[in-house]
């Protein structure tokens, strides 16, 4: 049973370099210069899962992203990893979207891809980290969703069974396909692109999807981008939960004695 699996991926700033992000206190704008971009790590686990399912069942994988023109890079990476085709949702009208408007845009993009069996996402991203988009895509497409998935088995008859992690254990969830499934890193170890994969990627298609295509597939343009975002950023400021530290110096024994004395005095121990 060949599967068409769609994998939304996101280009995010590399968290190893988050310390470099600065805030201009006057303008309130964030400076990300010097911070390289990567594919959101959990999305790579999602793509790996798609590749494994395809290896078992056959079919095709479409990687999709919504972003500025440079986001094309994450699609190229996905194609190099083994996705068959890609799509870049890019349009000024998409800019400034919160999770709801993002999910609406991605859903319209997905609707333009014809029939599909499964949408595999990373459970959350390293930047926004809301984890809200997968469930919201499912709502707009009127299909079920399962999040926090660490194991997925696709069965015959258009169903899948997932192990869905919860506090204290897991839920065994049976879901009718098509569905949105978002995955945790424990689901697999993802492969790296091979040289062959990179070369083959050059011959694969990346379709560009604009707002007017989204409109064709049911999206109301007033409900995309910042216009379609019920939430908005009102202010940005530096967090300042600083304390005045008292440094204890001396030989290790002296430090130990002084620390224990001080902690007793503070009634901390």
């Amino acid at each position: 049973m060949a599967l068409h699996i769609i994998v939304p991926v996101k280009q995010v700033p590399d968290p190893e370099h988050f310390e470099k992000i600065t805030l201009n206190r006057e303008t309130g704008s964030i400076n990300r210069a010097g911070v390289p971009s990567i594919t959101n790590p959990l999305d790579r686990h999602a793509l790996e899962e798609a590749l494994r399912q395809k290896e078992t069942a056959g079919g095709k994988i479409t990687a999709l992203t919504m972003g500025p023109p440079q986001a094309r890079k994450v699609i190229e990476d996905a194609l190099a990893m083994g996705a068959d085709e890609g799509a870049l949702l890019c349009d000024p009208l998409f800019a400034g979207a919160d999770t709801l408007a993002t999910a609406r845009t991605l859903s319209a993009g997905i609707r333009s891809m014809g029939a599909y069996d499964l949408i595999l996402c990373g459970n959350d991203t390293v930047d926004g980290a809301t984890g809200q988009v997968p469930a919201q895509i499912a709502t707009f497409l009127n299909i079920p969703h399962v999040t926090y998935v660490r194991k997925l088995d696709i069965l015959d008859g258009g169903k899948a069974v997932a192990e869905r992690k919860v506090e204290g254990g897991y839920l065994k969830v049976e879901v009718v396909l098509p569905a949105v499934v978002s995955v945790l890193k424990e689901i697999n170890d993802y492969r790296l692109p091979t040289v062959m994969g990179i070369m083959e990627a050059a011959g694969k298609q990346i379709r560009e999807i604009t707002a007017s295509v989204c409109r064709e597939f049911g999206a109301d343009e007033e409900k995309l981008g910042s216009k379609g975002s019920p939430t908005r950023v009102a202010d940005v400021f530096e967090s300042g939960l600083k304390r005045k530290v008292a440094i204890i110096t001396g030989e290790p024994e002296e430090i130990a004695r002084a620390l224990v004395k001080k902690l007793r005095k503070l009634e901390a121990i």
Binding site: F18, E19, I21, I30, T99, L100, D127, A129, T130, G131, Q132, A135, A138, T139, I143, P144, H145, T147, Y148, R164, K165, V166, G168, G169, Y170, L171, V173, V175, V176, A179, P230, T231, R232, V233, A234, D235, V236, F237, E238, S239, K242, R243, K244, V245, A246, I247, I248, T249, P252, E253, I255, A256, R257, L259, V260, K262, L263, L266, A268, I269
Partner: protein, 332 residues
């Protein structure tokens, strides 16, 4: 209506702590907005937990009961909660950010086409452009920057909050409230994703959130070859062991003991950090501890800016002396 709805989550029949934390916050918001606090609980037979919800501050408890809802069902729960919200039209809806809450909230927000802000570290009402609005504060970029988010027009304004970030109030068992039990109108479409069973996994017995004393270790333990010093210090202090993400990645701690933005948020009486430089996404996990002690060999480590007591030096020579000092005092 300026009401606040809180979705109360059940785990094995009992209301989880974060739901009480949300009710406490809802009471505070309700005082400013002049509205009531409504707790919604969904499950098999769940009206028995209503009294506890009322004691924490719920004015009314809506108990949606059906045997098919004993376990979390993502489609059914979302539709049921959305229906209650359409009916009550509250100003604000709060959902505890457990793995279940984080799954339920976005679907409900999408059904209602309203705004939802995840992992809020602060929530309060402010008058902006003439209307009372919920200010939702979230950390950005690993906690370096704080972001204030608003949902100016759509209602309800929805927010999720991680367990332990906000305080649970003190229950008043003499409080009275209204309890409404209702049977939902469910159909097959609500169960396209169907939870078949809950499988319990090894009880770690770790309840970090209730520990008075926590000793946390970071990457600095690498040179020591492991976490023994952290464990011994925790033992000597009578506290629990915790660690940073690198500590988890190295297998020195399990995920339940990981502190920080993507781990646990704690507020113990004493928090001792050993060998961790203090990246924001780690320190947000314990910044509300009463007393914070940091031990690190780098005098410029940012952890010293968020600590009460700092020790600059080699943890391999200092920590054993501290353990000795504690044990010596004990014998006396």
């Amino acid at each position: 209506m300026k009401d606040i709805v809180v979705w109360a989550e059940l785990r094995e029949g009992k209301v989880v702590d974060v739901s009480f934390e949300m009710i406490t916050k809802a009471v505070e918001l309700g005082d400013t907005l002049g509205g009531s606090v409504i707790a919604v609980v969904i499950g098999d037979t769940c009206s028995s937990c209503a009294n506890e919800l009322i004691s924490y501050g719920a004015d009314r408890v809506v108990a949606v009961e059906d045997s098919r809802l004993a376990l979390y069902q993502s489609g059914a729960y979302a539709r049921v909660l959305a229906d209650v919200l359409v009916d009550r039209a509250p100003e604000v809806t709060l959902i505890g950010g457990t793995s279940v809450g984080m799954d339920l909230a976005p679907r409900v927000a999408a059904i209602l086409e309203t705004g939802l802000t995840a992992h809020c570290v602060d929530l309060y009402i402010d008058t902006i452009d003439g209307t009372d609005q919920l200010v939702q504060v979230v950390p950005g970029w690993g906690g370096k920057i704080m972001i204030k988010i608003l949902c100016p027009e759509q209602r309800p304004q929805m927010a999720t909050v991680r367990p332990g970030v906000m305080e649970k109030g003190i229950p008043d068992y003499s409080r009275k409230g209204e309890i409404v039990a209702m049977t939902p109108d469910l159909n097959d479409d609500d169960f396209m994703a169907r939870t078949l069973e809950f499988v319990k996994e090894k009880e770690t017995g770790v309840v970090l959130e209730s520990a008075d004393i926590v000793v946390s270790g970071g990457f600095g333990l690498y040179a020591s070859g492991g976490f023994q010093l952290v464990e011994q210090l925790a033992d000597a202090l009578g506290g629990e062991v915790a660690g940073t993400r690198p500590a988890f990645d190295h297998g020195w701690i399990t995920e339940e003991r990981m502190i920080g933005q993507s781990g646990k948020t704690l507020r113990p009486r004493l928090f001792v950090s050993v060998g961790a430089s203090g990246a924001m996404h780690y320190t947000t996990g314990f910044q509300k501890a009463k007393v914070i002690v940091a031990i690190d060999r780098n005098p410029d480590a940012p952890i010293f800016t968020v600590s009460d007591i700092g020790i600059v030096g080699d943890l391999n020579t200092i920590v054993p002396r501290i353990i000795e000092e504690l044990q010596e005092k004990k014998i006396q």
